[in-house]
């Protein structure tokens, strides 16, 4: 049987995630790995929104914040299991995205960017200001979901970092699978079409507003799950997760790796997650170098890492 490029991509991703630990010198690398997957999940959602549908959001950290705080708050206030709280957070994010998206997605380009930014600011402001509920800027603790314990009960004993590596990795593969499915589906084509020309998309019967909203909701759910994963594995969460800088970071990862490509964006997440760890040896030059790398990548690989490399390989091949 011939494998489709989608299957190959997914298999590749899964294999890399499964094999990588062989090369880990210490269990710290599991932590970095799981962070990459958590970020990768968020940017996969943004690939759908930015890469497919061409709608910019500078407020998606707001959804990550909702997902994260759902895991922190629901167990405390409603006695919900943290894993269920993550689901609740995702549903809530989806609903909020649906409500918020309807009005703001009428805006275009930078106007949409600033409106979504406003949404993100509102969320992080509520999280920081309602200290009585959320613990304020100093954050709050998150209960352990006990999934690791459940695994132990069936004989799989993983360390904390190992477990979260495996678990986030699994969720990422599922997330990537869904996003890749979407690309060549009627919905994915509709999103990419309205990216190209809204008028033409309408003229062929695409409900542009509806599809934008769908992309927004889906990407919000991705961000929310990513926030939940982060909260659960850190066992502690602060409003920074919903902050403007986190939104910018998510968009940067997406564009750096290649907004139109799921694997590219995951690569972008990997780079921007690993880079600060590598740059620590340069001490105070860390920031400077981070900025420099970002600029250089975008200057020489203008469509993002993966699409640019792919294009070069293709060209070289002929």
């Amino acid at each position: 049987m011939r494998l489709s490029s989608k299957t190959i991509t997914l298999l590749g991703l899964a294999v890399v995630i499964a094999i990588a630990p062989v090369f880990f010198p210490s269990s710290f690398y599991y932590r970095v790995g799981s962070l990459i997957f958590v970020n990768g999940l968020a940017v996969t959602g943004l690939v759908i929104l930015i890469g497919y549908a061409g709608q910019i959001s500078l407020g998606h950290a707001g959804f990550a914040g909702i997902g994260a705080y759902a895991c922190a708050l629901a167990p405390v206030h409603f006695g919900l299991h943290p894993a269920l709280a993550a689901v609740l957070g995702a549903v809530l994010s989806g609903i909020i995205a649906w409500l918020v998206g309807r009005p703001i997605l009428r805006l275009k380009g930078y106007y949409l960017a600033v409106a979504s930014l406003g949404f993100g600011v509102l969320v992080s402001m509520v999280l920081a200001n309602e200290a009585a509920i959320t613990g304020g800027p100093d954050g709050m603790a998150v209960e352990d979901p006990g999934l690791r314990g459940a695994l132990k009960a069936i004989g799989i004993d993983l360390s904390n970092t190992e477990f979260w590596y495996a678990f986030s990795g699994l969720i990422l593969v599922i997330g990537a699978w869904l996003a890749l499915n979407l690309y060549h589906s009627p919905t994915g084509r509709a999103l990419r079409a309205l990216h190209g020309s809204e008028v033409a998309a309408r003229a062929v019967g695409i409900d542009v507003a509806g599809y934008k909203l769908k992309a927004f909701v889906i990407s919000a759910v991705y961000a929310s799950v990513s926030g939940s994963l982060l909260a659960l594995q850190n066992k502690f969460i602060t409003p920074d997760v919903a902050g403007f800088m986190h939104s910018i970071e998510m968009v940067t990862m997406t564009v750096l790796g290649g907004a139109g490509s799921v694997i590219g964006a995951i690569l972008g997440a990997a780079i921007l997650t690993i880079l600060p760890q590598i740059l620590t040896v340069f001490q105070e030059y860390e920031q400077l170098l981070l900025g420099l790398v970002m600029m250089l990548v975008m200057i020489f690989m203008r469509d993002g890492l993966l699409p640019s490399i792919a294009r070069r390989l293709r060209r070289g091949g002929e």
Partner: protein
């Protein structure tokens, strides 16, 4: 070699605190190694910049524990980063000395977590004591909405009743705000306010102080230990800062201490060394790092080895250690080891500090 790790916020919103901390730690490590290390062993020091981001702080803490395999961690410039590092240190059973203010860090006591700064609550207590002494019972409050300001506000409100003081106006401002006159106008307009308290750090309190003068509010203004450094006077302007009171440490008034003061030698040595090494004035925050390092070195010396659990026990047994913030005596129920006497009530007069006790 003995490997010690640190993660502080050298950059980011708390770099005002983290930068002097990092500089202090690096300076002290170099000095110690130059002097032959601890018990003949050199210190290998790993420091990371978490940018004030708790998520990054946790990653670096994991790295320190798992990859660098340090025996102890200093760090957590802010309460947020501290709370993120803490579970890692506790899980790995590695002593961790935080540089952040909140009382939650050491209350309840956790086996491996310690801290050097006074709690915010202690700063509040110090201020309220002074207010009570001066007969103020009704005050206005204007707090920064960052972690430092919000946490201190919370602590102050929690204990204010004990001093019979009432808050008539409770305003806030964002950490990067450029003008606080509206909030101050509201405080000014409240009848009966006798004094104003401003918990916060960074540029906010300097702007508050300047706006305070601009509006000619005329009531006594209290700042927090968050601005305890000479640069505050410079930024607020000596004129505007005249008469501002705040709880500070001996470090700030090194020049005013009598030689008989128990902290005299420690404070003077650190101040001189730091100012020589960096060319910048010392701040209370560098002092926190100084003390954390001193406690750790002392504990390693006493434990006689580099076994994490032994070091932990030794830290807990710290007794009578003189630091820049005060004299530290820890116990199984007190992982801070400071009392109110460590704070000194300072007043800014003619562009300089004055002890008012």
């Amino acid at each position: 070699d003995i490997k010690i790790g640190a993660t502080v916020s050298e950059t980011g919103p708390a770099s005002f605190l983290g930068d002097p901390e990092a500089k202090t730690l690096k300076m002290l490590v170099d000095a110690l190694n130059a002097a032959g290390g601890i018990n003949g062993e050199k210190i290998e020091f790993v420091i990371y910049d978490d940018g004030g981001d708790p998520n990054k702080a946790r990653t670096f803490a994991t790295r320190l524990v798992e990859d660098d395999e340090v025996v102890a961690i200093i760090g957590g410039t802010t309460t947020g980063t501290t709370m993120a590092i803490m579970p890692v240190a506790e899980d790995a059973e590695i002593p961790f000395i935080s540089l952040a203010g909140a009382i939650e860090i050491i209350d309840p006591v956790r086996p491996y977590t310690f801290k050097t700064p006074h709690t915010d609550r202690m700063a509040c207590a110090k201020i309220f004591e002074d207010m009570k002494k001066r007969g103020f019972t009704k005050i206005g409050m204007i707090s920064g909405s960052d972690g430092f300001g919000a946490s201190m506000r919370k602590q102050c409100l929690a204990i204010i009743g004990d001093y019979g003081i009432e808050v008539l106006a409770d305003e806030t401002y964002g950490p990067t705000d450029a003008d606080m006159t509206p909030q101050l106008t509201n405080i000014k307009g409240k009848d009966g306010v006798q004094a104003v308290l401003n918990p916060g750090f960074g540029q906010g309190p300097a702007i508050v102080t300047r706006n305070y003068a601009q509006l000619a509010i005329g009531l006594p203004l209290y700042q927090s230990h968050g601005v305890a450094s000479d640069s505050f006077i410079e930024l607020a302007g000596a004129q505007a800062a005249e008469g501002v009171r705040l709880p500070g440490t001996a470090l700030l008034v090194a020049g005013l201490l009598p030689e008989s003061d128990p902290q005299y030698a420690v404070v003077k040595a650190y101040k001189e060394a730091y100012e020589k090494a960096t060319g910048k004035p010392v701040s209370t925050f560098g002092g926190y790092a100084h003390d954390a390092f001193a406690i750790l070195v002392d504990a390693i010396k006493r434990s006689g080895g580099s076994e994490s659990s032994a070091i932990r026990d030794a830290i807990e047994a710290t007794s009578g250690l003189v630091g820049t913030t005060g004299t530290v005596t820890m116990s199984a129920t007190d992982h801070l080891g400071l009392d109110l006497s460590a704070f000194r009530m300072l007043e800014i007069q003619k562009g300089g500090w004055k002890i008012v006790e």
